[in-house]
Amino acid sequence: MKFSILVNEGPYTHQASDSAYQFAKAVLAKGHEIFRIFFYHDGVNNATRLTTPPQDDRNIVNRWSKLGEEHKLDMVVCVAAAQRRGIVDDGEAKRNGKDATNLAAGFRISGLGQLIEAGIQSDRIVVFGD
């Protein structure tokens, strides 16, 4: 079955991001396909490569990047939400005159249409939020 996942909250503050990650792993373990993971609202903050969590805690951003790489997942960060919250890739930096970027490996920035498309193309979509 084809699943998509929507993540509405950032790392650490709410468990939503942890739950979404565990759910994504379980989806793959069950042999299902993940069409897309979409990061919206504060969820875009899962995609900054600038975090340095305590050594004895999980690294939420890195494990998303790793899961994405291992399973070739399409992990999309909403551009409008990212602009409000300061998540930037090279293209966004150029367009908005920013002197730095922070997007982590494995994520891409795109529009909300990608969320609707995920809803259309997937058999199931599950929302994690506050």
Partner: protein
């Protein structure tokens, strides 16, 4: 429909609304939502009454994290993340009561 609730029923109205609105199917409690299934909490009678209409599940890893895995009320089925996936697959749609 699979209803997913992640909030404590003693703090917010999400589970109450879900129970009043839903036509049936299942309720899966995750994150702080799992407190709803701890024996002796003041929401217990409401959840018990709802069991006539909904199958009630709770996410085991969230129960364990909160130290309440040993006080789950009767009629509730604990599932792991794999069971969560199976529930999503089983029902045509899911709604997260955020």
């Amino acid at each position: 429909m699979l209803n997913i609730v992640n909030k404590s029923p003693l703090e917010r109205n999400a589970l109450q609304s879900c129970i009043e609105t839903g036509t049936g199917g299942a309720i899966l409690l995750i994150e702080d939502g799992v407190y709803a299934v701890a024996r002796g909490n003041s929401f217990e009678p409401t959840l018990k009454a709802a069991m006539g209409k909904f199958k009630v599940y709770a996410l085991a890893p969230d129960l364990e994290a909160r130290g309440i895995a040993d006080r789950v009320m009767d009629g509730v089925t604990a599932v792991d993340y794999g069971g969560f996936v199976d529930l999503v697959a089983e029902y045509k749609s899911s709604q997260s009561w955020l």
